[in-house]
C-alpha cells in the first residue's frame, strides 16, 4: 500500500479517534479543547500530507477494506483528483484544529452536550474523507450520507431556536433527496457497467440518452449539495446556524466534496462528455453566481451573507466546470484542462477564504455575540488582528490582485476568452456572455464585501455590546492567520499551485497545461505568453515595496505627523454612530436596481409611542417558485389519502370485499 494511502488512513483514524475521544467530554468538558480538536487538526494535517503525496507522485493506489457487502467490499482509491480534495479538506480542517479550541470554550458552560459537537464533527470529517477516497458507489453513498447526517446533527446543535430546527430539517430533507438522486445516477451507470465498483462504471458503454440521464441525476444530486440555484434553499438556512468552525467546514469544505462528486461522476466515471451538458452547467453556474451574490448583498446577518456568497462561489466553480465540459466535448483538450484547473483553483481558494471569513464571523460572534451587521462597527480598532485577517479574506473573495481569488477568476476568464477556438458560433457567443456575468458577479461581490467590512470593522460601533468587543484568544487568531497567509501565498505564487493542480486534469482529462508554467515561476501563462500572462509575484513585490517605503518614510519622520481632529463632514456637527450608513442603507441602491429579483416586504409602521419604524425583509424568490408547490402537493395528497382511515369498521370490511372482488375479476 502506498505511503499516500497510509497517510489518508492515518487521517481517517485520527478523525474517528477524535470522534470517539469526545465521548470523554461528558465527564471532562475541557478535553474537547485539549484532546478532541487537536486530534481533529492532526487529521487535517495528515490529510494534507496524503493529498500532497498523491498530487506529487501522481500515481494511483487502491485498497480494499474488510467491510461492506460480501460481493461488494468497500474499496478505496487515492489518485490525483482525490488527493487534491484531500488536501483541500485537510487545510481547512487543520485551521479548525487551531481555531476550534478557543472557540468552543464558550460552549463548555452551555446546555448543549459537548460529545455531540466533538463526536459528529469527527464523523463529519471521516465521512468527507471517505467520500473522496471511495472507489465504489456503495462506500461512496455510505460515506456521503454519513457526511450529511453528521453535519445535520451539527447544524441542529443549538436546537432551542425553532428557526434552527427548521433549517436543520430542511437541510436533512434536501440532503436526503439529493442523495437519492445520486444513488439513482450511480444505478444507471451500474446497470450499464454491470457493477457498483467504479472500475466497472468507467467501462460502462453508455448511449447519449442514458449518459444524459445519468448526468442529469448527478447534476441534480450534487448540485443540490453544492447549493446551486434554485436548489440552494437549504444552504443559507443551515450554514449560519451551526457553530462557526463547523460553518467554515460546511461552506468551505463540504460544498467542495459535492464538487468532487460531480467531477468524479461526470469527468471520470461517465468519461465520454458532451458539450450540451457543458452549456447547461455553465448556465446554471452563471445563474447561481449572479443570484448568489445579489442575495448575499442584501443580507444583514453576517453568517447568512457568507452562506449566500458560498452559493455565488460554487456558481463560479461550476462555470469553470461547464467550460471544461464544453471544451472537452468539442475536443479542445488543452482548453478543457485550463477551465478545469481554473475551477479547481477556485475550489481551493474558496475553501481558504470562506473558511477564513467564517472564522472571522465566529470571532465577532465570540466577542460580541452579534451576527447582525447593523449592530456592528468600528471593530477594526477593537480586534485589529481579526480585522486584518478579515480584510485579507474580503480582498480575496472580491477577486482583487494580488490575492488568490483573483487568480482563479482570471484563469476562468482566460478559459472563457478562448471560446473563439470553437466551431459552433452559438457557443462562441454564449460563453463570453457567461464571462460577462462572471465579471458582474465579481464587481457585485466587491460591493458586497465593501459593505461587510466597512460596516462591521470601520466607522463607529452601533451598539453597546459591540463597543465592548475584545481581542479573541491566540488560538482563534492563529487559525485565521494560517488561512490568511495561505490566501496570500495562493495569490502570489499561482505558478507553483498550478504546477501541483495540473496533475489532476492530466489524470482525469488526460491533458495537462504544459505551457502554463513553462516560463518560470514569475509568469503564469495559461495558453501562451503572447495570449495572456500574469506576473503575480512582481505585482505583489511592487505593492509591498512601495508600501514599506511609505511606512518607512512615515516612521523616519520625513513626513510630517498627522494631527487628530474631529471629522469635517462638510462642516456638519461631529457625526454620531447613528448617523453612519447602515448595511441596509449601503445595499439600497443595488437593491433598487435589481428589485425584480427579490421578494421584498418594506413597510414603515408607527409604534405606539408614535415613533416610526422602518421594517424591511428581503427574501429570495426560489422558495415560492419551486419549494412551496411541492410541499402543498404532498400536503393535499396526504389530506386525501387519510380518508382511507375513516374509522368505520364496516367501510374497512367493504374495502376488503371490494379488493377481493377486484382481484378475483382480474385473475379470471
Amino acid at each position: 500500500m502506498a505511503i499516500g494511502l497510509d497517510l489518508a488512513a492515518l487521517a481517517l483514524g485520527l478523525a474517528l479517534a477524535s470522534s470517539l475521544a469526545s465521548a470523554l467530554t461528558v465527564r471532562a468538558p475541557h478535553l474537547l479543547r485539549l484532546l478532541v480538536l487537536p486530534l481533529f487538526g492532526l487529521a487535517g494535517a495528515a490529510a494534507v500530507a496524503a493529498g500532497l503525496v498523491a498530487l506529487v507522485q501522481g500515481e494511483v493506489s487502491t485498497a480494499v477494506l474488510p467491510l461492506g457487502l460480501p460481493w461488494l467490499p468497500w474499496q478505496v482509491r487515492l489518485d490525483a483528483l482525490s488527493g487534491f480534495f484531500l488536501a483541500l479538506i485537510g487545510v481547512v480542517t487543520f485551521a479548525v484544529g487551531l481555531y476550534g479550541p478557543a472557540y468552543v470554550r464558550g460552549f463548555e458552560r452551555g446546555r448543549d452536550p459537548l460529545p455531540v459537537l466533538g463526536g459528529f464533527a469527527g464523523l463529519f470529517l471521516a465521512g468527507m474523507l471517505l467520500v473522496v477516497l471511495a472507489d465504489d458507489a456503495f462506500l461512496f453513498m455510505v460515506a456521503w450520507e454519513v457526511m450529511s447526517l453528521s453535519s445535520y446533527f451539527l447544524v441542529v446543535f443549538h436546537h432551542d431556536n425553532p428557526a434552527n430546527r427548521r433549517a436543520a430539517f430542511l437541510y436533512l430533507l434536501m440532503a436526503h433527496v439529493g442523495g437519492l438522486a445520486i444513488l439513482l445516477g450511480y444505478g444507471v451507470l451500474a446497470s450499464f457497467g454491470g457493477g457498483f465498483a467504479f472500475e466497472a462504471m468507467r467501462a460502462a458503454p453508455l448511449s447519449f440518452g442514458w449518459a444524459s440521464v445519468a448526468f442529469s441525476l448527478a447534476f441534480l444530486g450534487f448540485g443540490m449539495k453544492a447549493g446551486l440555484v434554485p436548489l440552494h434553499a437549504w444552504l443559507p438556512e443551515a450554514h449560519p446556524v451551526a457553530p462557526s468552525h463547523i460553518s467554515a467546514l460546511m461552506s468551505g469544505v463540504m460544498l467542495k466534496v459535492a464538487v468532487y462528486g460531480f467531477i468524479r461522476f461526470v469527468f471520470d466515471l461517465i468519461g465520454e462528455v458532451h458539450w450540451q451538458w457543458g452549456v447547461a452547467v455553465t448556465a446554471v453556474g452563471s445563474l447561481s453566481a449572479l443570484l448568489g451574490v445579489l442575495y448575499a448583498l442584501v443580507q444583514n446577518d453576517l453568517k447568512r451573507l457568507l452562506a449566500y456568497s458560498s452559493v455565488e462561489n460554487l456558481g463560479i466553480i461550476f462555470i469553470g466546470l461547464g467550460l471544461a465540459l464544453v471544451f472537452q466535448g468539442t475536443g479542445q483538450g488543452l482548453l478543457a484542462a485550463l477551465a478545469f484547473v481554473a475551477a479547481l483553483y477556485h475550489a481551493i481558494n474558496h475553501a481558504l477564504f470562506k473558511g477564513l471569513l467564517f472564522f472571522g464571523a465566529g470571532a465577532i460572534l465570540h466577542s460580541t455575540h452579534e451576527r447582525d451587521l447593523d449592530q456592528m462597527g468600528g471593530l477594526l480598532r477593537r480586534m485589529p488582528w481579526t480585522g486584518l485577517f478579515f480584510l485579507v479574506g474580503t480582498l480575496s473573495i472580491s477577486a482583487l490582485p494580488p490575492f488568490n481569488g483573483f487568480v482563479s477568476e482570471w484563469l476562468t476568464f482566460q478559459a472563457a476568452l478562448q471560446a473563439w477556438q470553437l466551431e459552433s458560433g452559438v457557443l462562441r457567443s454564449l460563453i463570453p456572455i457567461a464571462a460577462a456575468m462572471l465579471a458582474l458577479t465579481g464587481a457585485l461581490a466587491a460591493a458586497c464585501f465593501v459593505k461587510v467590512y466597512g460596516v462591521a470593522f470601520l466607522g463607529q460601533a452601533r451598539s453597546r455590546h459591540v463597543r465592548r468587543a475584545r481581542q479573541v484568544p491566540l488560538g482563534m487568531r492563529a487559525g485565521q492567520g494560517v488561512l490568511a497567509i495561505m490566501c496570500l501565498l495562493f495569490g502570489v505564487l499561482p505558478t507553483t499551485v498550478v504546477d501541483l493542480i495540473e496533475a489532476v486534469p492530466r489524470q482525469v482529462l488526460g491533458q495537462g497545461l504544459p505551457e502554463a508554467t513553462a516560463h518560470g515561476w514569475l509568469w503564469l501563462t495559461p495558453v501562451a505568453p503572447a495570449t495572456a500572462s500574469y506576473g503575480a509575484p512582481l505585482i505583489a513585490f511592487v505593492l509591498l515595496a512601495l508600501a514599506l517605503l511609505a511606512v518607512w518614510a512615515a516612521r523616519r519622520g520625513t513626513l510630517r505627523r498627522a494631527r487628530r481632529c474631529d471629522p469635517w463632514d462638510c462642516g456638519f456637527a461631529p457625526p454620531g454612530a447613528r448617523m453612519q450608513y447602515t448595511a441596509t442603507a449601503f445595499a439600497q441602491p443595488l437593491r433598487r436596481v435589481f428589485a425584480l429579483l427579490f421578494r421584498m416586504d418594506e413597510r414603515v409602521e408607527q409604534r405606539e409611542d408614535g415613533t416610526l419604524r422602518h421594517r424591511l425583509t428581503v427574501g429570495d424568490r426560489a422558495w415560492g417558485l419551486f419549494y412551496a408547490p411541492v410541499a402543498r402537493a404532498v400536503e393535499s395528497a396526504a389530506a386525501r389519502i387519510v380518508r382511507l382511515q375513516s374509522g368505520n369498521v364496516r367501510i374497512y370490511l367493504g374495502w376488503t370485499l371490494s379488493t377481493l372482488l377486484v382481484l378475483l375479476w382480474i385473475i379470471s
Binding site: G459, V542, A562, Y581
Partner: protein, 321 residues
C-alpha cells in the same frame, strides 16, 4: 540573453511608468483649460494641477479621531494600485516587459483594488457622506466593470489575446480594418470611462453638493498628502482610460521598437491623441448635464448593451465560421 538589453528595456518601462504619473495632472489641466475656454473663461493655468499637488503634499495632515489605520493606509494603496495598473498600459512603446506583468484583466483588477480601498476609506471615518459615496461608487462600478470587461473581450477575441501589447500589435498588423464590433466597443469603453473616472454625466468632479457627489464624498475627510495621493491617483486613472481608448483603438504612431526616433514619435502621437480626447471630454462635459443617481444605471446599461452588441457583432459578422 543580453542582460544590458533587459536592463534597458526595464529601464524604459520604469521611465514610461514615471511618465504616466507625470503626465496625468497635465491632462486634467488641459481638460479644465478647454472647458474654461468653452465657457468663455480664461481658466486656471495649464500647470495648476501640479501646483495643487505640490501644495497639498506640503500641508499638514489632519485625521479624524474616529479614523482607523486603514484610513491612513488607503491613499498609498490606492495610488500604488492605480499607478501599477497604469504602468502596464502601453503609453509610448509596445515592446516593454511591464506589459507582460499585467494583461487587461489584471489592470481592471488593480483598479478594482484601488476602488475597494477608496470605498473602505470613505466608510472609515463614519460620516454619512463617506458611506453614501462608497455605496454609490460600488453601484456605479458594479455596473461599469462588466461593460468594461466585455468591451475589452471584444478586442481580446479579435486579437486572440488579453495582453494589451499583443492587442495593439494585432491592431497594427491588421492595418486599417473597419470592424463594427470595434465601433460598439469604443462606445462602450467611452461610457465606462466617463463613469469610472467620475466625470459628468455620472459624477461631477468639481462639486461638493451632497446629492451629486460620489468620488468627492469618499475623499471628503482627506487632507494634505493623503488628499494629494488620492487626487493624483484619480488623475492617473483618467489618463489611463484616455490612453486605453487612444492606443488600443487608434494605435497608429505608437513605438513598435525601442529606437529613440520611434519613441519620440510615439510620445508625440500619444500626446496629440490625448489632447484631442481631452478636448472632446471637455466639450462633452460642457454640453451634458449631470444625471440623477438612479439614471446612472440606465446610462451604464447602455454601455453594457453596446459592449454586448460589439461582442455579438464580432462573433456573428467578423469570424468566418
Amino acid at each position: 540573453m543580453d542582460y544590458l538589453l533587459i536592463a534597458s528595456t526595464w529601464g524604459l518601462a520604469l521611465l514610461q511608468a514615471l511618465l504616466f504619473a507625470a503626465l496625468a495632472p497635465l491632462l486634467v489641466g488641459w481638460v479644465r483649460k478647454v472647458k474654461a475656454w468653452l465657457q468663455n473663461r480664461r481658466g486656471a493655468p495649464l500647470l495648476q494641477p501640479y501646483r495643487d499637488l505640490y501644495k497639498l503634499l506640503g500641508k499638514e495632515v489632519r485625521v479624524a479621531h474616529t479614523a482607523s489605520v486603514l484610513f491612513r493606509a488607503a491613499p498609498y494603496v490606492v495610488f500604488i494600485a492605480t499607478w501599477l495598473a497604469a504602468s502596464a498600459v502601453p503609453l509610448v512603446a509596445v515592446a516593454l516587459p511591464t506589459a507582460a506583468i499585467a494583461d487587461i484583466i489584471v489592470v481592471v483588477g488593480l483598479l478594482a483594488l484601488a476602488r475597494f480601498f477608496l470605498a473602505l476609506a470613505g466608510m472609515d471615518v463614519g460620516t454619512a457622506f463617506g458611506g453614501m459615496g462608497a455605496s454609490r461608487e460600488m453601484l456605479v462600478s458594479a455596473l461599469a466593470e462588466p461593460a468594461m470587461l466585455m468591451a475589452v473581450f471584444t478586442l481580446a477575441m479579435t486579437a486572440h489575446s488579453t495582453n494589451l501589447a499583443s492587442v495593439v500589435d494585432a491592431q497594427l498588423a491588421g492595418g486599417l480594418v473597419l470592424r463594427p464590433s470595434y465601433l460598439f466597443a469604443l462606445g462602450a469603453l467611452i461610457l465606462v470611462a466617463l463613469a469610472e473616472t467620475g466625470r459628468i454625466p455620472v459624477d461631477n468632479p468639481t462639486t461638493h453638493l451632497e446629492l451629486t457627489m460620489i468620488h468627492e464624498a469618499m475623499i471628503l475627510e482627506y487632507s494634505g498628502r493623503h488628499l494629494a495621493l488620492m487626487e493624483w491617483a484619480a488623475q492617473i486613472k483618467l489618463l489611463l482610460y484616455g490612453v486605453l481608448i487612444a492606443n488600443i483603438f487608434l494605435p497608429w504612431g505608437i513605438a513598435g521598437s525601442l529606437a529613440p526616433a520611434d519613441l519620440a514619435l510615439g510620445l508625440a502621437a500619444v500626446v496629440l491623441k490625448l489632447l484631442a480626447l481631452g478636448a472632446a471630454l471637455a466639450l462633452a462635459e460642457t454640453v451634458l448635464a449631470k444625471m440623477r443617481l438612479f439614471r446612472a444605471p440606465a446610462f451604464l446599461n447602455l454601455a453594457l448593451l453596446l459592449a454586448l452588441l460589439g461582442l455579438l457583432g464580432h462573433v456573428i459578422l467578423e469570424v468566418g465560421a
